[in-house]
């Protein structure tokens, strides 16, 4: 009898839970958008917004002096006012006079002033703070520790007027002043070294389009539109929730169910199924991320021992590298794995940069015959007919390293292995734990590998291709070319956009001929969203850039 009672109570509880579960679904708020992100944020403080998500979300909370948007027609950025109401560059572009908005208040009621601007630059460049931008203020007057010299740099005319002086002979742009401004009155009394930990205790005092409503660690981050903000327009999205869902399949299920409204990094395989669902749509953001097969241009063993750059016995010759490029069927990866959501790459400038992209270069199409010709010219022949090329008694074989846990890299490596085997080159695939892989890659210890880069906006290729390896930490293939160095130096000091574009085109031509790496493909970023979200202006700057202008319909 007792057992029956217990079972009845349990049944009742289960029924109640199910009923309440069903009821909940009807209480969806229409002006609220739930976006999935796969890991929680560490910080909302823009000083320490190291990850992409942290950067995007902190920009929703904190306004910048100027705003940059992507102009798809020009394939370049456009600058518009934000906290700066108007500005005037000096004739020689060595300084800028900025008039600030006088109607901006921080979320605690304090007035935003020019002092906040000075404090922000000071904090970002302070070596004690170790902010994400530390060491990057190259166009400013800085001391030996790269801390901005405030006296030389800033003249505060009045609370809403400021002059910023740049270093002599530098080429400053709006990008030098485009980052979120933080409130001086909140952070000034905190010891700079403690800023990194102290910010955890503070509720963010913001001036952006959104303010923080709730942050449930590892669960969700809820932002509410700040209706008093100068950035708010009637009808804009009123609540933005970032839900942390670490598992891709769970994210997909929630998207189908309507538990989330937007999901990034959709796999190409899932697109067809998602498009069959009535209320879902998919957009592809054209790529500024490319995958490449890296050929170490120098001997990694000699470099490790002596730090000397001696040409690699296999990949030191540009004709061999070109032969490798001809041997790899890049179109197959795009077709088979990416379902054509990408395009073949032949250089480090993405086609999205329409004015800088060199359209004259003919794509290097898969051509085993051309590869064979180049390899034979370089002395690599299958002398003993065992299927592997040889030269001076040495087989053409090498290890291709890839980071583990990335199916696309697995597929690419397997395809490269098969393609090169057909060309008589033996490839051994080595899968490394990601941290180990990247450490070895940055230390230039690998022979060959498959990895990817994201090209920054605005374009900045110096750290990828400059010959002086100490100044180019991302030149992991150790490519060295004097012409490229000259072009990069000219680009760095040029203030003329057209001139820069011409230089970039030349740079692509040299790289195209040298093949320091085999550029594989530009990868489209696929985003699925609920069709009740309108005005999504997905640009290469990311889907969340400008999301304050999203609209929702019931």
């Amino acid at each position: 009898m007792k057992n029956y009672r217990l079972i009845s109570i349990l049944q009742l509880i289960i029924i109640l839970l199910f009923i309440s579960g069903c009821q909940n679904k009807s209480s969806e708020k229409s002006a609220r958008i739930i976006c999935a992100i796969n890991s929680d944020l560490v910080s909302l403080n823009p000083l320490f917004a190291f990850s992409d998500n942290e950067g995007n979300i902190s920009e929703l909370l904190y306004a910048s002096l100027v705003q940059h948007d992507w102009d798809d027609k020009k394939g370049d950025m456009e600058t518009s006012p934000m906290l700066a109401k108007s500005w005037e560059w000096s004739r020689d572009s060595s300084s800028i006079t900025i008039n600030l908005r006088d109607d901006v208040k921080w979320s605690d009621g304090q007035q935003f002033t020019a002092n906040d601007v000075v404090f922000t630059f000071d904090a970002y460049s302070d070596p004690l703070v170790q902010s994400k931008l530390y060491g990057t203020f190259k166009n400013f007057y800085v001391d030996s520790a790269l801390h901005i010299d405030l006296k030389k740099t800033f003249i505060v005319k009045n609370p809403f007027g400021i002059i910023i002086n740049f270093k002599k002979n530098s080429a400053p742009t709006f990008y030098d002043i485009d980052f979120p401004i933080i409130p001086e009155h909140v952070f000034k009394n905190i010891y700079r070294k403690d800023l990194v930990t102290a910010e955890k205790e503070l509720k963010p005092v913001t001036d952006g389009a959104f303010s923080l409503f709730e942050w449930n660690k590892n669960q969700s981050l809820i932002l509410k539109a700040d209706k008093k903000s100068f950035l708010y327009k009637d009808g804009n999205v009123s609540e933005l929730i970032f839900k942390i869902v670490p598992d891709y399949n769970s994210e997909l299920t929630q998207l189908k169910k309507g538990e989330i409204d937007l999901m990034q990094d959709i796999k190409a395989d899932d697109c067809t199924a998602l498009l069959k669902i009535n209320n879902l749509n998919i957009i592809a953001i054209k790529g500024r991320e490319y995958d490449y097969a890296g050929w170490n241009n120098i001997d990694p063993d000699v470099y490790k021992k002596t730090k000397r750059a001696v040409p690699n016995k296999l990949f030191g010759n540009y004709e061999i590298r070109k032969a490798l490029t001809f041997s790899i069927n890049r179109g197959e990866i795009i077709k088979q794995f990416m379902d054509n959501h990408g395009e073949a790459a032949d250089g480090p400038v993405s086609p999205i940069f329409k004015e800088a992209f060199n359209y004259d270069l003919q794509p290097l199409i898969y051509s085993p015959d051309s590869a064979k010709k180049l390899l034979t010219q370089a002395g690599w022949k299958d002398t003993d007919r065992n299927g592997t090329l040889k030269k001076n008694g040495r087989e053409f074989s090498f290890t291709l390293s890839i980071p583990g846990g990335n199916p696309r890299r697995d597929f690419t490596a397997a395809l490269i292995q098969n393609n090169l085997q057909a060309a008589g080159i033996k490839v051994i695939i080595e899968k490394l734990e990601p941290e180990v892989f990247f450490q070895k890659m940055f230390n230039r210890e690998l022979d060959a590998w498959v990895a990817g880069w994201t090209v920054s906006i605005p374009l900045d290729l110096k750290s990828f291709w400059y010959s002086k390896l100490e100044d180019a930490p991302l030149n992991v293939v150790s490519y060295q070319n004097k012409t490229i160095d000259e072009l990069l130096e000219k680009i760095e000091i040029s203030q003329n956009r057209d001139e820069k574009n011409v230089l970039y085109k030349k740079l692509q031509e040299v790289i195209y001929n040298d093949n320091p790496v085999t550029f594989l493909f530009w990868d489209d970023k696929l985003i699925a969203y609920n069709t009740r979200i309108h005005n999504i202006n997905a640009s290469p700057l990311g889907v969340f850039h400008n999301c304050r202008n999203w609209l929702t319909v019931k």
Partner: protein, 328 residues
């Protein structure tokens, strides 16, 4: 006897501290010799090597191995694990955020595992090798063979995607501010049904198997026949004689199982997006967050030692004959 038990307990505490110390020292060495650079993701690619070295210095990883170890031991003696590289707050604070959830979640799952395993084994041994016993045994074997990521995804597919009666992830809904306490509790319970089933299925199968075999063994002992011959009812035999004799080996297993649960249930936490220790530890390992890995290991180690100690004490209380032997 009491004095002796006290002495044994003190001795056990000392050995536990020694085990923990060795565990953490071993971990410290392993972390330092394993490849990977924790500072890599905090270094802007535009920084020169000089500035890169400056950033690396702030991680105190440029010091000699011995200096690092000395600092580590010194901090440990004060109960400090340092600042997490990723979260940039003291490790204790980071663990504090996830530990309460893990403990509650693990305890509830543990209770479900024990009680379901117990009830099923009692049902099964009522007629050993009968139809019920055979069905439950075969099903439990099948359930044990299903990995939790398969079970989790399957449950989400059925209850969340197809039937749409339970949420597929998270700990609570977004609109709970207007809820009453009861509604909030229901909301939590609703979110935890699928994760709890996923986490508990394997444990239920394990407990069932152990308990069923023990019960069968005790059932077949001569004293049970003797009790029956003396007119004891079947209910009394089971409750007063068979269960107490069969339950002892299960307590040790339960101690180990609970300790493992406290360490975190990575797969369940990832599939259902729950904020537990498993996810925290694995992320810390992947991002080479040395202080956080150490902190998580310490907490997991303490909990395993404590649960095992508790299991041994319970066994000793139930059977005083073996008290000293167990506690030693």
């Amino acid at each position: 006897m009491r004095k002796e038990i006290f002495k044994v307990l003190v001795k056990r505490c000392f050995t536990s501290i020694l085990v923990l110390f060795l565990l953490l020292t071993f971990l410290f060495i392993l972390l330092r010799i394993s490849p990977g650079d924790p500072s890599l993701k905090f270094i802007s690619p535009e920084l020169s090597p000089k500035l890169t070295a400056l950033v690396k210095k702030s991680f105190s990883l440029e010091d000699s191995f011995l200096t690092q170890y000395k600092t580590f031991i010194l901090n440990l003696s004060k109960g400090e694990f340092g600042i997490s590289y990723t979260y940039r707050v003291p490790v204790v604070q980071v663990i504090k955020r996830t530990l309460p959830f893990t403990i509650i979640f693990s305890l509830v799952s543990f209770i479900i595992q024990i009680s379901c395993g117990f009830l099923l084994s009692l049902k099964a041994v009522k007629r050993i090798n009968g139809i019920t016993d055979r069905i439950i045994s075969k099903t439990s074997l099948a359930v044990y063979a299903i990995p939790s990521f398969v079970a989790g995804v399957f449950l989400i597919y059925i209850f969340s995607e197809k039937l749409n009666v339970l949420p597929s992830s998270g700990l609570c809904s977004f609109d709970t501010e207007s809820y009453t306490t009861i509604q909030k509790l229901f909301d939590y319970a609703q979110h935890l049904i699928l994760p709890l089933i996923t986490l508990s299925l394997n444990g239920i199968a394990v407990f069932f198997k152990y308990l069923r075999d023990n019960l069968e063994e005790v059932y077949n002992k001569p004293f049970v026949e003797y009790l029956r011959a003396n007119g004891f009812t079947e209910k009394d035999i089971v409750r007063k004689h068979i269960i107490p004799n069969a339950i002892n080996p299960l307590i040790s297993i339960a101690g180990v199982e609970l300790g493992l649960l406290f360490g975190g249930a990575l797969i369940t936490e990832v599939i259902f997006a729950l904020p537990g220790m498993g996810r925290l530890t694995v992320n810390a390992i992947l991002s080479r967050d040395y202080p956080l890995v150490t902190g998580c290991t310490f907490v997991a180690g303490i909990l395993v030692i404590l649960t095992n100690l508790c299991a041994d004490i319970i066994k000793a209380v139930l059977d005083k004959r073996i008290a000293k032997g167990i506690l030693n």
